[in-house]
Symmetry: C2
Subunit: 483 residues, 2 copies
């Protein structure tokens, strides 16, 4: 039996020093220890010249140590490590039966995505890494402090140790602000989850090459640039507590701020939880593994695995040469989406409080059947062959919105370690206050209700988490406008 | 697109009319529409004479329409419905590797366990059913309003409709107080979950034979009687909001009451969530199905499936004849535990606030690796052959506690539809305020923190939920003592 001390009642927190309030304060601080964003952009350009990957598309057959295993019908690494590409047959029984086949990535380990946080001059700063990934369209992106698969930090790659990892492995010495496993793309990953962590330190932290301390305001403003803040950074930031109280104007910023503190949502939390429970109980989802060569509508060639009609995505091969901090050569399969996706949130104000329209969505790779997805989540080109009535709800509404209603519009990438030049247009569209329909499968949430759910696993999918961060970033944008 | 009305801000709730406060008020009301408990006991005796099952233990080979299927190695019903008994091989990789084989029940459907609630004379009453189950040691037990497997309410049994089910299927017309899927015994069920629902109605409700409206105080006091309030009732009640404020004395009741409202736990919620995330990330649990005949240490005979050393449990056959409201004859396999279990919570007061010592526990049937379990959860007879050092932590401490420290001590049954005469001693033991060790794998929680986690799936296992209800019942007991 250990000698851990007795439980002690913690002192009641001063609301102004609560993590949530200090995080919002950081979202309102345009300058930090790297100076302002102009200075940071110079560092970005410098980094782009030093850190790079050269990625060449090659045929799947020519990948080094990756082979198609005919006995199991999967594409896997000789070591059995990293990940594999497998085939699945999905059947969803609800009012009707939907069935389809597809390739999917199996990577059952739980990796760590971690951001280190430290206060400088009274403002929280986030330690972000400039990191090149083979699938990135534009070289380097802004990434979390640590981005490590289990193989990664167990040394399967044979590489060096992961910098700063020790802060996330020895949590008891530091203050944890968020620590929750979250799913990744349920259409492309079978049961993949990563541990999203934010840890605050007070001790001196050595600043390594390629790492920079940024305020949340700075990260929020960089988020408005195409393909710069990476997916892993966005999902970790979404799990932060975020309770406002610092925005005084009467514009969208204040309405967002109210949305983060109020419990006066259109629906109570118990009603929303009950609705989620209902959508999880209703469908029966049957996912079984089948050989890649047996997938209906898909064809495996020496070159790639692709859909017969050219829809959805391809599994391709790449050969990579990396320079900069991490040096190496390797080859691997990747997923390359066939067209850019559209991810959109419809938001409205109800008595001055922002509400967000969410839908529930069945995805075969999710651990718990369904998760909350944005108002719109689709790849429009997949619907080109279908009649207009088959287009996803609200897709045309967000694409044809009046420019004044569009509050956020940026292309943001999927994770460049697995996805090749795959990016989604992130849109936030505000509709006028007034009657808004809530079709079956959709509900209005406040930002505070979404933040509360993000303390737990399996509620918001990765696309929804990405847009939650974009929505919160409008607090920074609005506060600057009124400065 | 539907014409669902616009989101509207709900009025701010008066705290005294919040569901949590009204539920605590019901826990303090000893008399209700059935009168006091003396009158209810007369009804119980009447019911015992009319509602019964005659259960005869028979060999597995003689079960009607249940067969061992040699090709799959499972024991299943001819229709493919209800459930099956399968074999699994479990491997848990952590610091060391643990491996074992066992039979397990596969019943992947999500059933409904629901309690209907209605206010009479200003006090919330719970509609409880007196229900006989074949595995019950003592005939009838107090059960939720609705206890329906999916087969049940889809009509696979060929029986009639389930009374009161419509209130739980048409939630929008009523007020939902709780609605969350929760796991069942992870050692005996593979991935089983039930939807736990509490729904408040204001309309007139027809009172059918065998159903009774009880206050929460009455249910709490009946909980102190052996094998009377069934497992399904206990798990549904555990999911209720329960925020105190009504207990004025300075005894354990008031300390529990503070524990339900305070956020001043020994650990912050984010620290506890981080600890849970860590315990879920650390072990790798591999569960694979193997034939029942291939289980190491287990033997299938025409009679039963049992452990070679006589430990753990048997899979037995029963032939059932039911009389009363539900009439019928059938036969089925059941699990019969080899010895009674011990479930215990160690509680302590920290600055007048009750804290509960919880552990995390890997169970092969859980959907998400580990859940929180009580301080002690074991079957002592399974340890009889092992040295004292191998006995579970705190087992001897709770069994040898001074009588004055034992606040609750009752045998409570596992679900009589699957478990034959299987019961656990439920113990709540208070230790003196002072230094308390927190060994690896254990943490102190307040009752309020546990209640908050119970809004979500996969945090507290069924044994922990059962003890949470026993702990809350002490509020009723204490308030009566000081009346």
């Amino acid at each position: 039996m250990s000698t851990t001390p007795a439980p002690r009642t913690r002192p009641v927190a001063d609301p102004d020093t609560s993590p949530a309030r200090r995080i919002v304060a950081s979202a309102l601080a345009p300058a930090g220890v790297v100076g302002d964003l102009t200075e940071f952009h110079q560092r970005l350009v410098d980094a782009q010249n030093r850190i790079y990957t050269i990625t060449e598309r090659v045929s799947l057959d020519s990948l080094d140590r990756w082979n198609y295993e005919p006995s199991r019908g999967v594409l896997a690494h000789e070591s059995g490590k990293f990940f594999s590409v497998e085939g699945i047959r999905v059947r969803v029984f609800e009012d009707s039966v939907r069935q389809w086949d597809q390739p999917i990535i199996r990577q059952p380990e739980v990796g760590i995505l971690g951001i280190l946080v430290k206060e400088f001059h009274g403002v929280l700063h986030f330690l972000m890494q400039l990191k090149a990934e083979p699938g990135n369209r534009n070289g380097i992106q802004i990434s979390p402090t640590v981005q490590a698969t289990r193989s990664n930090y167990m040394g399967v790659h044979g590489g060096g140790r992961v910098p700063y990892l020790e802060y996330f492995q020895d949590r008891d010495r530091h203050r944890v602000l968020a620590d929750v496993r979250q799913s990744e793309q349920g259409a492309w990953f079978l049961g993949k989850r990563n541990r999203n962590m934010v840890v605050e330190v007070t001790e001196e932290v050595e600043l390594l090459d390629g790492f920079h301390w940024l305020t949340l305001n700075q990260i929020h403003r960089l988020l408005a640039l195409d393909d710069l803040v990476n997916m892993d950074a966005r999902t970790v930031l979404s799990c932060l507590p975020f309770t406002g109280g610092g925005v005084a104007d009467e514009g969208l910023g204040a309405a967002l701020d109210r949305s983060s503190v109020t419990e006066r949502g259109a629906h109570s939390m118990v009603a929303l939880l009950s609705w989620i429970t209902d959508t999880r109980t209703r469908p029966e989802v049957d996912v079984r593994t089948i050989a890649l060569d047996e997938l209906s509508q898909w064809r495996r060639t020496p070159e790639r695995i692709g859909h017969r009609e050219g829809r959805y995505f391809d599994v391709i091969g790449v050969r990579v040469e990396a320079g900069g901090r991490e040096v190496g050569r390797w080859s691997q399969p990747m997923i390359a989406a066939r067209g850019p996706g559209v991810l959109a949130l419809l938001v409205t104000r109800v008595e001055g409080t922002v509400h967000v329209l969410m839908q529930t969505r069945v995805e075969p790779g999710l651990t718990d059947v369904v998760e909350l997805a944005p108002t719109v989540q689709c790849t429009p080109s997949n619907y080109a062959h279908l009649p207009a009535a088959s287009r996803p709800a609200f897709l045309d509404a967000v694409l044809r919105a009046d420019p004044g209603q569009v509050k956020f519009d940026t292309m943001l990438s999927d994770e460049g370690g697995r996805f090749y030049h795959t990016s989604n247009r992130h849109l936030i569209v505000e509709t006028e206050t007034g009657p808004h329909p809530e079709p079956p499968g959709f509900r209005w949430f406040t930002l505070g209700q979404l933040t509360e759910l993000l303390r737990h696993s399996h509620y918001l999918n990765v696309q929804a988490r990405s847009l939650v961060v974009c929505l919160r970033s409008l607090v920074s944008a609005q506060s600057d406008r009124h400065r």
